[in-house]
Subunit: 368 residues, 2 copies
């Protein structure tokens, strides 16, 4: 899946005006089909392919992207008629969302058109088709996914006229909106962004007010990050020019979660340019940290067969091919040990905030 | 599991001063054992039993509670020595948390004492033992669980000196803190609390600003509610005297989630008095709503065998024995149909905010 010469990618419009998009939907779907019918043609739409085979990794750009290959979806065709009809029906729901300027979740759309779908997977796929056709992100169509991220720290955000000071939200924090592209960063005192995999570690850092001492913005995606959280981090990086550091468990899954923040995922290759924070640093927990910070043996876990298999998969990802990553993978493989961030509690409940993070930052001890 | 005459329950102290609790830990655990040793006794602790057999449903109080039965845990006893040692070790970690006035998660405690535990279940159980012994809630010991709830609406909350206006948090909302007992309700314009099972429906209501039109506070526990979210709802009910309404899917699982808000769960019977919002109303989605609001057949789902089995279990819960509930169960069983709240999107994406909720509230159409 390497990139070949003069291949065309699908790069979606970063932002498109609602009015423009409504016209685009009308012209390129409804009026187009209408004129095809008038011309007594077999009505058809052209949908960009999104299957695994067209996913490419661009080493130069260091991004997972999608090759531009159009597939014909026509009406007078037993193989396509069902999908063709679904596409047109969902397009009209989406046009309504845009006209009313409201948002719906994937599942809402499924129910809104449930009479022509058997499963939500079907309707989800059709929505992605329409987004690809329009050359926009699904969110631009008013179709959003639920967000589970939380943010605390030295930043003020404007969301629908409300000014939210993320340093004044107690020990809870701001629940990141699914409409993350509509918020505005007003003002910030932070010097970096710290993304934490798990909300347990996140809460410890919030209670210890590390964001105040370290002048940073804390974000957690509560495990595998959702699209809104990834987009939020990407925007903090791009618009505020803040360096981003990621704190995950020292296991293959942690490395993977970090890589999704950095390079995007294969499932959403499509969204990569908008979601990937390529130069985010992996701060830890690194396999080499376990000895360096003397994490006692009893707080380390033995890797399972599945872990080891996953590790070998990950270490073959092209974007993990650099020396430092491979060294860490090697070490993990030799030791067959993994550890959660909370393993640092074996030393002291506040060790993470008092010692680990300040020391890592001071020594600039991270993977690029 | 009916309640018998003159049975003693475990009713935990609603709130206890940290200093007092530290003394209690010292006297009732450490000094007690010390004096037992000095007297050349076999050191022992008395732990309240928490097994299923001691769980009782008090019809009068309409709560799931725990009978008070003390079990001896002694040192010179091959059966108990391990647990005895674990109890003492964890007690000292907890005393440290209290002295430093910081909080840790269950998993943090496990790692902090990992050398004497094989699994986290072991350490979780010991922590519950200590809480029961001290007659306080686990949270009073400084041991918290992560919270996943979100709140939006007409209320101001003070949390660690920060004043949070939940009507000014854009489309995201306030991520409910795990330290929910430490927040203070400053001021509110709301007339009721609406608890929404799923965050998809929650977001639609937030975007439609129903909390403004209906003057309410919206809370979601994002599925099965965590302890912090349940406690938060309970406090809104008790301290602000606001009526609480619950919106869940029309399926056995939805009924169960509602009942956990209302009556507590068997696993946490222990926490019931503090978590259960007994007089919360089940607003919907009721099986009878499906016809009443003309939810099209294609937006309803067929119940699985598992659903039907679960339904018969639930309909036998003593606190569901009232007529209206049984009617709804009966209807669901006859139709063998279930439906998610989003099924209302089949009519119109904003039907939930524009029609369903206002109409239900106006007609006072709910289950007590």
């Amino acid at each position: 899946m390497k990139k070949k010469e003069n291949e065309e990618y699908i790069i979606l419009a970063e932002k498109i005006e609602r009015e423009k998009l409504i016209d685009k939907m009308l012209n390129e779907i409804f009026l187009r089909i209408l004129s095809q019918i008038r011309k007594r043609q077999n009505p058809f739409l052209e949908i960009p392919a999104r299957k695994k085979e067209v996913v490419v990794y661009d080493e130069e750009k260091d991004l997972i992207l999608l090759k531009k290959i159009l597939m014909k979806r026509d009406f007078f065709n037993m193989k396509n008629v069902r999908k063709f009809t679904q596409t047109v029906a969902v397009s009209s729901t989406i046009t309504e969302l845009l006209r009313r300027n409201i948002h719906a979740q994937l599942r809402d759309i499924f129910y809104n058109r449930a009479y022509i779908f058997e499963t939500q997977n079907e309707s989800d796929a059709i929505i992605e088709d329409i987004a690809a056709m329009m050359g926009v992100y699904r969110e631009n169509l008013g179709v959003i996914a639920s967000a589970k991220g939380v943010c605390v720290g030295e930043i003020k955000i404007r969301d629908k006229g409300d000014l939210i000071d993320c340093s004044r939200l107690g020990t809870g924090g701001w629940s990141i909106t699914p409409l993350v592209d509509e918020v505005e960063f007003v003002d910030y005192g932070a010097e970096y962004v710290l993304v934490i995999e798990k909300d347990a570690a996140f809460f410890r850092l919030v209670e210890d007010k590390i964001w105040k001492k370290q002048k940073c913005i804390l974000v957690t995606g509560k495990g595998q990050a959702d699209v809104a959280t990834r987009r939020f981090v990407k925007r903090l990086r791009e618009e505020l020019k803040l360096p981003v550091y990621i704190l995950v468990d020292s296991d293959p899954y942690g490395f993977y979660i970090a890589s999704v923040y950095k390079r995007g995922s294969i499932q959403l290759s499509f969204d990569t340019p908008r979601l990937a924070t390529q130069d985010a640093k992996l701060l830890g927990l690194l396999p080499s940290d376990l000895d360096k910070y003397k994490v006692p043996k009893y707080a380390r876990l033995k890797m399972t067969e599945a872990d080891i298999k996953r590790l070998s998969e990950i270490s073959n990802y092209p974007w993990f091919k650099n020396k430092r990553y491979q060294e860490e993978f090697q070490l993990m493989l030799e030791r067959k040990e993994k550890a959660e961030v909370q393993a640092l509690c074996s030393k002291n409940i506040t060790y993470l905030s008092d010692v680990y993070i300040p020391k890592k930052m001071e020594e600039r001890d991270w993977l690029s």
